[in-house]
């Protein structure tokens, strides 16, 4: 690749300065406008694909909700399944805080059916974690 070199030499002249500033602004705006365009196009293509995919599969849950403005609201109390005592919730919260840092929030606690996990799904998961 042989770059087509500019004959602009950086100096402190008004001309170079104005050239840099104007082309800088134009290019920044241009690149980000291009990104808007590309993202919009791909967004609609992806939506189209997924809508068709859903129609075929009847799968309504694929789209993930963006969590709505949550910081100004007080942290919601975790959603807790019946039959799990308050103490246990506190214990889990403490454990999560210990391992995840104080900014983690417990949103929901469900009993996990420990004995019925599909061992092969799990093996596949291990495999993705231990890649070597």
């Amino acid at each position: 690749m042989s770059p087509i070199l500019l004959d602009l030499v950086p100096d402190t002249s008004a001309i170079f300065t104005a050239t840099l500033v104007i082309s800088g602004i134009v290019i920044v705006v241009g690149v980000l406008l291009l990104l808007i365009l590309v993202i919009k196009i791909f967004g609609s293509v992806v939506s189209g694909l997924e809508t068709r995919a859903k129609k075929r599969k009847g799968d309504q849950k694929e789209k993930e909700e963006i969590p709505m403005p949550k910081i100004p609201a007080p942290k919601p109390a975790p959603v807790v399944e019946d039959g799990i005592s308050g103490e246990v919730v506190a214990a889990i919260a403490a454990a999560v805080a210990a391992s995840e840092g104080p900014s983690a929030v417990v949103r929901s606690i469900k009993r996990k059916n420990v004995s019925s996990r599909n061992p092969w799904a799990q093996a596949a998961q291990i495999n993705n974690t231990k890649s070597f």
């Binding site: 800088g24 602004i25 290019i27 920044v28 705006v29 980000l32 789209k63 963006i66 100004p72």
Partner: protein
């Protein structure tokens, strides 16, 4: 006798070579002043909470670099100089490389900032930007401050003798993005690295102080009270495609921005792919923390008295502030434009978040918005311009590198 005389000579010589004695030599007071500045930045980092994760290592590096005779200041400015230093030749005859010279190599070679961007990418959620790509405009507008400040630096030229490269490095402070500022400055004006890094992180910490006045001054109460609708949900596929598309589009157009944008987007892809959680976590935790320590200490260690104690530094501080303010103002004014074009659907306050300084600038938008309308939740909407501001400053960095390198 001879022994006691020897001991006396040794002790005398230790004192004569010590930093204490050096302070009384001509020019020695400058190191003392620099140590004072190190204390100031330690105070700002620890007590005032100015981006402490970087300010504390930078300030400590500054302290160590200005201990006379400790050989803990970075001694070279370019890769060639590094090799001369390792071999004790050229301007480095008689010099030995020290710890900081080795740690700084990762800055000079352009390794640390892209690795930090990898970690930032792995921490960033681009959904608000994908859901509302128009936010990109605000992320672009807030970078105008960079270019306006470039004019300011050149105008101050007759006084402070900034070269175009130095002017570009100062202007990038307005990008409100530490790693980008360090990356650009280490290439264009390495002799100013310490001052620019300190200014950039200080103003980023001051975002909640600097921005609200400008935001309130440029908007009406009615504008600030605009409540924005919910963002559309974003699918997993879009989140995976986004980093790939941005990399391709931006890197093809501005190859000089490719290291920063590429690594930022790789980090994000590792996070979103759903298959690479293990290394995404490594990128945002262990790798980023280790690189942060190295980057902070060694950037601090570039601040010799001679590069820091001169009128140019005052210019950097002043212009840095101007850059921030202009960036905020441009963002808000473009927000107003969008308010008009969308017939009041967009709250102009989210424009100021375009400076980056993630996530603080977005939080400032949220806070100022709630002052006018307590039921106003702008945070998620402001995150769009906010993360697009990171991409925007990397693009601006690419332009500056292309034209000034």
């Amino acid at each position: 006798m001879e022994i006691l005389q020897g001991v006396w000579e040794v002790i005398q010589s230790i004192f004569a070579n010590s930093g204490y004695a050096f302070f009384f030599q001509p020019g020695g007071y400058k190191n003392l002043i620099m140590i004072g500045f190190a204390f100031l930045f330690l105070f700002l980092g620890i007590k005032k909470g100015f981006e402490p994760l970087l300010m504390v290592p930078i300030a400590f590096g500054m302290l160590l670099a200005n201990i006379p005779g400790a050989n803990l200041a970075v001694q070279y400015h370019d890769l060639e100089g590094f090799f001369d230093l390792l071999k004790g030749r050229g301007e480095f005859v008689g010099a030995t490389p020290g710890l900081m010279d080795f740690l700084y190599f990762g800055v000079k070679a352009g390794i640390y900032p892209p690795l930090i961007f990898l970690g930032i990418g792995a921490m960033t959620d681009f959904s608000p930007l994908i859901a509302n790509p128009k936010s990109f405009i605000l992320g672009a507008a807030a970078q105008f401050g960079i270019f306006f400040t470039y004019i300011g630096a050149i105008v101050l030229g007759p006084l402070l003798h900034f070269t175009p490269q130095q002017a570009g490095s100062i202007a990038i402070i307005g990008g409100a993005d530490g790693p980008t500022a360090i990356f650009v400055t280490s290439k264009l004006a390495p002799e100013m690295l310490g001052a620019i890094a300190v200014a950039a992180y200080s103003y980023m910490a001051l975002v909640p102080v600097i921005q609200p006045f400008i935001m309130r001054g440029l908007t009406t109460k009615k504008e600030r009270a605009v409540v924005m609708g919910n963002l559309r949900p974003v699918s997993k596929l879009e989140k995976i495609l986004f980093p790939i598309l941005v990399t391709v589009v931006v890197s093809l157009l501005l190859p000089d921005a490719a290291s920063l944008v590429g690594m930022l987007m790789l980090g994000n892809l590792l996070k979103e792919s759903g298959q690479t959680e293990r290394i995404a976590k490594a990128a945002q935790n262990e790798l980023m923390n280790i690189v942060t320590i190295m980057l902070g200490i060694s950037v601090g260690a570039t601040t010799s008295a001679q590069s820091f104690l001169n009128p140019q530094t005052i210019g950097i501080v002043l212009l840095g502030l101007i850059a921030f303010m202009l960036g905020t103002a441009s963002g808000v004014l473009f927000g107003k434009l969008m308010y008009i074009f969308t017939k009041g659907k967009i709250n102009p306050l989210i424009g100021s978040a375009g400076v980056s300084a993630v996530p603080m600038a977005a939080r400032v938008s949220q806070k100022v918005g709630q002052e006018s309308n307590p039921s106003n939740f702008l945070l998620m909407h402001a995150m769009g311009p906010n993360v697009s501001g990171v991409i925007g400053s990397a693009v601006a960095a690419g332009i500056l590198l292309t034209l000034l390198k």
